[in-house]
Symmetry: C2
Subunit: 611 residues, 2 copies
Amino acid sequence: MVEIKPYNRYVESLSGRTFLDIARSIGIPIRAECGGIGICGKCKVIVEGRGELSPPTPNEIKILGDKGISQGYRLACQVKLLSGEFRVTIPPESVFQRYRSADIGYERSIPLEPAIRKIFISAPIPSLEDPKPDIDRILERIDSGLDNIEIPIDVIRKIPEVARVAKWNITIALWNNEKVIDVEPGDTSKRMYGIAIDIGTSKIVLHLVDLVSGETIAIESMPNPQISFGADIISRVTYALKDRENLVKLQNLVVQGINSLIDRVISRAGVQRENIYEAVVVGNTVMHHLFLGVEIRYLAIAPYVPISMRGLRLRARDIGLKINENGVVYTFPNIAGYVGGDAVADAIAVELNKCEEPCLLIDIGTNTEILLNTGREIYACSTPAGPAFEGATMRFGMRAASGAIDQVFIYFDNDSRDYIVRYNVIDNVKPIGICGSGYIDIVANLYRLDIIDRRGRFNRDIDSKRIVLDDEEGPRFIVAWSSETGIGRDIAVYGKDINELILAKAAIASGIEIILRRAGIDAEDLSKIFIAGSFGSYINIENAIAIGLIPKVDTNKIVFVGNTAISGAKLALKSIKIRREAEELTRKVKYIELSIDPLFRKIFTENLSLP
Amino acid sequence: MVEIKPYNRYVESLSGRTFLDIARSIGIPIRAECGGIGICGKCKVIVEGRGELSPPTPNEIKILGDKGISQGYRLACQVKLLSGEFRVTIPPESVFQRYRSADIGYERSIPLEPAIRKIFISAPIPSLEDPKPDIDRILERIDSGLDNIEIPIDVIRKIPEVARVAKWNITIALWNNEKVIDVEPGDTSKRMYGIAIDIGTSKIVLHLVDLVSGETIAIESMPNPQISFGADIISRVTYALKDRENLVKLQNLVVQGINSLIDRVISRAGVQRENIYEAVVVGNTVMHHLFLGVEIRYLAIAPYVPISMRGLRLRARDIGLKINENGVVYTFPNIAGYVGGDAVADAIAVELNKCEEPCLLIDIGTNTEILLNTGREIYACSTPAGPAFEGATMRFGMRAASGAIDQVFIYFDNDSRDYIVRYNVIDNVKPIGICGSGYIDIVANLYRLDIIDRRGRFNRDIDSKRIVLDDEEGPRFIVAWSSETGIGRDIAVYGKDINELILAKAAIASGIEIILRRAGIDAEDLSKIFIAGSFGSYINIENAIAIGLIPKVDTNKIVFVGNTAISGAKLALKSIKIRREAEELTRKVKYIELSIDPLFRKIFTENLSLP
């Protein structure tokens, strides 16, 4: 039995799980920036009581020190409550607030049911009295129903040697009871791994998962190497459309990138490449097409038709992915031209498909996907917010990287008779630009202080050193003086930047409004709003509501879930049941194509004002 | 309605079939050396009556002439009885006697049910109102149950272009509802072909089959190119065992050989390579392993374990076979180390698996396979007859090729007071050697004439110019005088040759005897003896019985069925039901390993005498 403080929750069955698992299973959000592998130290908890605990792991000793451990501190992801009565206190700093890394997202525990099975068999050595052929000798020891199983020729060719070298003690890796992936000497049934891959437009994230324990054992990420052919998706699409060879080039780049991440995770985790049998891949539809090397012309132009809604299963070798030679690659199902597998993975990760009350999922990005489950029906749409939130089109815009102003608070100081700007800079260096969350804060503050009006126009009656109205650069508000910045110049937000931001928020707000209207749901009826995507995790929710980006709801209905694309991919890797749920979801979704929705233009125009 | 003379058989339903099909369907054996493609002219029949017939084909006009046609002659394989009342007379010369070509065997009609399906679909063009993705758009028009279907990446990549070029009128090729093989523009559903391949130790035979009509449309064969690394199977095995690279070399040779046969059939039949979607391959177990490139060490040495009993399904591309890139290769199931897929195909071709009364199948060769269905159980064994019947170890031995003496009759001529030898030479040229059927005839005749005794020893009391007893070459009987031969020397049969033949017949006779004993069947209870294999077709059955090669049964119980390995392969190509029957047969068979049978040595010794 364990009592969880300060939540006053009780859990009966300990069943040898980590405390992180126990807490997650009842919905208590403990931080685990490293994904629960004992390296970030963010999940400190205090364990008191009598009973048997797992001994401190090397990581715990390193992070908590002997002193910390003697005070009862443990890492939730490491400590296992084996038996007895405990009280575990989760200190506030260990409670999950937001995902600070784009590499992880909200995770939930599920029963393991991977597509891959490994079976150790010990077969009798053939004799004249028992000369049953190799393959039959092996398969009859697995189970029935494998009559039609496929065995690739290279596996067939290795069977005679492997079986005899290992004296017929061998392990078979099977995919979905359809295909033999490998035959290995000895008992290797505990060496069974898979990878989940999120191919983002700007970043590729890869998680290596132990499919026996279900644990994530290594995480790696890198910028999407296609960036050299266009930072944003449109320029990459344009490049790919120019020439079939360009598409091949982009495909090779992403596959090579993933292969280098595979190299990194296997060396970090000490895993053999051959023991990775499956890869589950998510990405938006453009990334999906570029990963597969499939023509994107028909996706890029109306009516925006992707190659496939259903998930696809491919041979890793055919794609060029360097896992087991006969390993399988599963690409997530898509919903529509601009609602891709990443959005499906988001939905699966947060169990949007199981909501019994209306809930909304928003994955904010250049292309923002919106999914709504009314409790009975699921709707989806996609809205082209553009790259404003990624800072791409703003004068001092930048990504949420080191040196970016990511949080801003502005107030009027009665002593100095002018505005004071307080801001946070990522990595606490001198600021060099402003990222999306910073712009949201600034616009919300300027509007609150009447420095700009509903349309984002500067109030010309205010006298402030920070407001520059009349020169050829256009009106602007100075956020950081040149003396404070790392670029030797003032960092300012311009009227044009504000317009861009309002356009972007109008696109998203209109998408949300239309999906709610089409489903007949009022915003206040929403029981939850999940905000997914790495950008979303950083924004100030009150300010996002203030500028009308997010519907006005009780803020504790809003949950930042981080990179749930990778979480969803991992779930599908761990369970074919989840994979079927994802396929089912895509078939069930009612897709709303905003570009032909007669209401869209009207609502979009209305949303060009701040609330 | 058609009356078939001289059999007094009646068939009600004409259903537009060729007369050959009609006759075969009721078990009347019409000759069709070309496999029923209208080129050999052996299936002449006389059609009388009133009704609608298909017009004479160009082949019929060429072979029968206008005169023949005006007399009512037609080719059974060409003429279709469309409607009306007919009497068809099958002249004796058109009745099937023996298979004169090693390229064909007994064929029977079956309902077509190939693993490949081609489906033409006409899908609506995508629009913003109907933006369903390409793959889903296609598959939803086929049928349900394809949720888990596999689509190779190169097919995925071609779909967008193919579909749009063809305005969404496209044809899908599916394998066993598991895998999409291809997607083609327009309606190509009538262009669906498969190939059946018999890889013999000495010859490779390939039949191209139209899987829409079920017709064989081209036949090609060639010597097995592995012959350059050993004419007999033992020397090839020895070569392959020496070095892994040798095995690869032998594999490449056979695949290249098959590919050149494919080139020939497709150019002859005017078929596109891409429209050949499946290949069914039969061969003995050594050929099976060499075709797959699988180690033969464990097959070659005791306990003689092949790689697989079950049939294997492979990607044509992985094997190197040049048919459709995603085409499937199915290799026939094996029974045991030395009872391979060719024997299974024989059994399936003659429906041994369905015999209700005891029936025996013998495929005579270097390795002779024997299968017995008692009506309830099926037994199999294999006996190493050696290459005597192929003439390999005999002084003047040769294969049944041009110049070989293949039939012999010897009698004592009272006028000349000596033996006269009448012989037939293949192709009516001067003889250059003797083939297996010739040796059987000679030994049977010499034994009948008391020139040799039960043990094959020459009777030293006979005075004949043809019998040479005392020189260093050993005793012999001169079959052809040097003046008659093409080699300028006498062609003779030696005492040593006779011993070889007796050893070979003893091996086969002992195999038959043991299989019958183990099954508790007497030879006279056999309702049928099928003799398969190209060698078998040429032998004189009375003489074969006389030397004890074949059990003494009523000769009309004996049926020569020719190369039923290729016939069985074709049946499996045309019907997955037959394929399942073959798999079932191999699972059901009780295999008798003669080398460990305690009776074998005793019975073999007894059989070293002539009856």
